[in-house]
Amino acid sequence: MLRAIVRASLAHPRIITALSVLVAVLGASALLNARLDVFPDFAPPHVLVQAEAPGLDATQVEALVTRPLEGLLAGTENVESVRSTSSQGLSAIQVVFGRSGDPYRQRQVVTERLAEAGGLLPAGAGPPLLSPLSSSMEYLVHFGYTSDRLSPIELRDLVRWMIKPQILAVPGVAQAQIFGGASRERQVLVDPFKLLSAGLTLEDLYGAARRGTELIGGGYIETPTQRIVLQAQPAGATPAALSQAVIAVRNGSALRIGDVATVRDAAEPSFGDAMIGGRPGILVETSTQYGANTLEVTAALEQRLNALVPALALQGVQYHPALLRPASFIETAIAKLRNSLLTGAVLVVLLLLLTLRDWRAALVSFSSIPVALLATVWILAGVGISLNTMTLGGLVVALGVVVDDAVIDVENIMRRRRGAAHGVDIRRLILSASLEVRRPVFYATAAVAVAFLPILMLSGLQGSFFRPLSIAFLLAVGLSLLIAMSATPALCAIVMGGHVPRAEAPWLTRLKQRQRRVIEWLHPRPGWVLATLLVTGAAGAVLLPLLGARLLPDFREDYLIAHASLRPGIALAETARVGRRIAERLAAIAGVKSVAEQIGRAENGQDPDAPNKSEFEVQIDPAQGASAAHIEASIRAVFDDFPNQLVEIYSVLAERIGETLSGESASFFVSVFGPDLDRDDAVATDIAAVLERLPESGAVRLKVPPRQPELRVELRPGELALYGLQAAEVLQTVNAAYHGTVVAELSQADRSVPIAVRIATGDATPQAVGELLLRARDGALVPLSAVASLDMVSARSLIDHEDGLRRQVVVVNPKTADQAGYAEAARRAIAQHVRLPPDVYLRYGGAAQAQAAAAHELLLHSAAALVLIVLLLALGFGYARHVLLVLVALPSTLIGGVAAVALTGGSLSLGAMVGFVALFGMAARNTILLVSHYDHLVTAERQSWNLATALRGAEERLTPVLLTALLTGLALLPVAIQMHEPGHEIEGPMAVVILGGLVSSTLVSLLLVPPLAAHWLRHARS
């Protein structure tokens, strides 16, 4: 088949060339219109279900809301885990599905299950709501508004009713969460004394407020000529009008709402806030829809927002753009990577010209590289895979093979052309030269592809990340092979028809002479050679794990996120006060462009954070020259002056990946499962103490925070009976006093305003709660303290579940890059020092755990791949000795990669691991091609197998091997040099490993394998 393809290409060289150009154009077009993203969609499909339960504390929410909902969701098909958090007034459940499922269908299944929730939830609890389906990165753009002229309520109204609809109208925007400002609420503030005086109850007032704002359609009148619609308007459309609504009529006089209550527009109870640059404002957090193009959606949204700026400025509203903008990283990363690759391409062209000394050969070699890569992009775009850090990484890794494919054919054709007689049939020469290398190249490429199968088969988050990389790599390698068999010979036939190439460059000739001397010196010492190969191979294998492993590198983004927690139970205003002081200090750090803070949670927001939690989004200005690491250190220094805060600082990507892995941002955590929360806490505290003693532990904290003070209102049935009070009535009154009861929704033209009835309370102290007056059935007034015990207690602020089991989590952010090593040390220490009660068990998680799982999986699949490669080599060579020689030579090539990583101070991230796999493939390719060439010399050219043949084979392979190494090295050099630049976080370590490995693999295949082969190989003919 290989022969048929090459023959067909040579038969129609112009058609093949035209087709190649067409593919390149299509690829270029696909590249320009490609969906660009930071990462592939790495998060498993999941939905977030939230149910508001106003007035309930965490334990009540757990028992009354979370448990019933978890029960409904249990057993849903394809569910991998259900994680929930019960906090004051909110149950948040995250249902994570298997990656194989269709997210839309799974969402539908959850919706159907939740339809049965109605009768299970307590009165007052809201219906369970599903968050919109968003992409893995979730964040789109965070921006803010502040105003010196508008009140917090007016500013929020403006954003909520005027700007938010415009945001959601942008295609690709899934959600816009609003933090800060104050939500408008029409409050009917009841004076309990006046209510008593009038002999009215709260129920009377609820009814009056409801009826006063109700809109009932008017119908129409029809004259003989016209139909005139009666447009009825609700009477209580304004606070003044609502205060005129009648509650009851006494002795012929109407008692109105205004007689017993004050009606006003005020802020509804708040669970969150926002600061923009230390000033109170509105922070809007948008998220992308599942599958949307982050760059396009960002651009469209920003265009829409920018158009609003002049009108907002007239109202005294300042717009604060891009407080957090992941698209910036994509833009920077893509631009820098593009520049690196372009620089590499220029260097490749120069080297081709310098080495081949022939512009035609250089043209043929070089043109096949972009054609292969553009064809890959075209297919990737066609099947809906975005261009992201990982797919680009796949292309970078494939570069070595693609370059080799581009060089090997042309070099062989040129070598043969130089030695051919004048007037030789050029097409026949090209055919034979091409076919000579095609079969070994095919097997070598197949071996490389098999080496990548373990990466392709990775599961979980690692699989989501690296599968696109593997697909891109395999596609590029496959297409490169196809192009080498078709377009390269065809183009050679067109441009090199009557052309006789110049002699080989003198420096190559000199190198060959030196190579010959080294091989001749080594030939009598096969034991030394073998020992060198074995020792370096073993050293590489042993030293590799010492590099320290971590899942993903630090991403050099322009944004840092600091998660800060105060003690649960802290007042929202205090969090805001402290936050303002922190923001002022952060903004003063050189290199910080903006600081925004979100406190608590938004209504139906994705994060069910309590008011004690805040998130600082710090934008770094790269133009100011301060590095992210330096700024991060400065941020930490600022937080050191705020010891009441627990703080964890992440880059945006690291935060999102951590959350996706396990629901935790931290890179290592231990979940403690057990039915008794106090016992879970005790075990978790022991574990935390053990982990704190490990020198590489950074911040250690318990996820479920310490208890918060609560005022427990325990009704006394005897006293209730004495006064003829029902428990529900008492609780309703308490709710009306300290939360407010929403009794109606006033719908206006473009907005709606909740009508809430509240009891005016004197002062907000625990003492005052007992003085709350209740109205008994017979009209008697009773203070709450007369029918209930009021005690300050310490209660849980948050209860965490995973798969329906209560859990406490010990969270650690290790200070070391060797996360896998830390995880192992932590595991050992915990096993040694912590004694577990019988019904408590532990589960380890985080990036380190995922890294270990991935390494384990990779090892298993690699073993299978190795067997497959051996079988493939056996099939290709047909000699056990050939296969053994390749296998003996391969491990020693690792040492160059290991040395390169160590020299550059890197660690073994999965990106570097992929580099090693690629290196393994490229080294195998070199050795396979050399050994195959020996076969060719013996079988096709009828040479005897001896040192001279081994020397000749090695010499003839020097140019392509060296050229491939140099070209690949030059192409990757800019990527490796800029490995600390944005966009090079994944590709940089890959390039470093490959560069280092190229040195060792080139030396091994050109100097160490030939003398050993001369001794070892046996050929049928010889």
Binding site: L543, R581, A633, D640, P643, P709, L773
Partner: protein, 324 residues
């Protein structure tokens, strides 16, 4: 640790790979600081988080009780006074008549035993009526009944002429009144009007389930008439204590407390703070009068939430972390 590994790595690459296997053991690490470090802040931290301390101020103020007032109808008082006087007069007359009939009967004058018995029955009935009227009056108008005759007459005249009103101030849920308040202030459409405390009323008001005091308001605002309900603030005797701002107070299951600055600093030069339980006496504007502190104490008056948060976060404080 990382650096050590790198050195080891290079040593291995250059010298002998087998020697590279030495792994630093985490168990040899120095022990971390003890958990549960005290509440201590450096001056920079205090400045950053906005912690401010101050001495509490000596002060005194009345205990205040919020009460619900009802303007009483003077007609009822006049009626009850009339009924009391009438019944007493009737009782006196009945007693005199019974005495006269008894004298006649004893002297064999024109009085039968039946007439004597009728007169004695009438006397007992009148006395009972007078006693009931008196009891009712004392229950309802006890403080008025307790007034000297002359004063009561003046009061009734004032009430009748509209120059004064009587207000019953009730404290819902209270069945025992305790010490007599010293002052009373009525809120009439938001305007404070002083009232004179006449004394406690014996009868509980069923719809409020409360005990109350009777107040007299001289020269009441025009329009304030019987049946009107008012908010009343009753002020008890002054109590002495220390004034602290409301923002300094925190609440726990042990009651209210504040953070007090310790006099000595910690070994590392930090200022230490400790919670101090206080007894809340009475609110005074935006402050509370408390006991349990000394006026020389330095109390955290601003930023107490910071210390509370620090105390709760315990041993895993970010301040103690060593960052890269």
């Amino acid at each position: 640790m990382i650096r050590t590994r790198r050195l080891a790595l290079w040593a291995c690459i250059v010298v002998l790979p087998a020697l590279a296997l030495a792994d630093a053991d985490d168990d040899d690490a120095p022990p971390a600081r003890a958990p549960g470090a005290g509440l201590a802040l450096t001056s920079a931290q205090q400045e950053a988080v906005g912690v401010a301390v101050s001495h509490p101020v000596k002060g005194a103020g009345p205990r205040q009780i919020e009460a619900y007032g009802l303007v009483l109808d003077p007609v009822e008082l006049v009626t009850d006074v009339g009924r009391l006087a009438g019944s007493r007069s009737a009782a006196r007359n009945a007693a005199a008549d019974a005495g006269r009939v008894e004298g006649l009967y004893k002297n064999g004058a024109n009085a039968s035993l039946k007439a004597l018995q009728l007169a004695q029955a009438s006397e007992i009935e009148s006395q009972a009526t007078a006693d009931a009227a008196a009891a009712t009056f004392f229950q309802q108008w006890g403080p008025v009944a307790a007034l000297p005759e002359r004063e009561r007459e003046v009061l009734i005249t004032s009430l009748s002429e509209g120059r004064a009103v009587l207000v019953r101030a009730d404290v819902p849920g209270r069945h025992a009144l305790g010490a007599m308040p010293s002052k009373a202030l009525l809120s009439v459409d938001g305007i404070g009007v002083a009232a004179r405390l006449l004394g406690p009323v014996a009868r509980t008001m069923p719809d409020l389930q409360s005990a109350g005091w009777l107040l007299e308001v001289d020269h009441p605002p025009s329009g304030l008439g019987p049946g009107a309900r008012l908010r009343v603030t009753l002020a008890g005797a002054d109590v002495a204590g220390l004034l602290i701002p409301t923002a300094a107070l925190l609440y726990s299951d042990d009651g209210a407390y504040v953070y007090r600055q310790k006099t000595a600093t910690s070994r590392d030069g930090k200022t230490e703070f400790a919670p101090a339980t206080v007894k809340l006496l009475t609110p005074v504007g935006d402050a509370w009068l408390v006991s349990g502190l000394a006026d020389a104490d330095n109390i955290v008056v601003h930023g107490a939430g910071v210390l509370w948060s620090l105390q709760g976060l315990g041993s895993f404080s970010a301040a103690e972390e060593e960052h890269d």
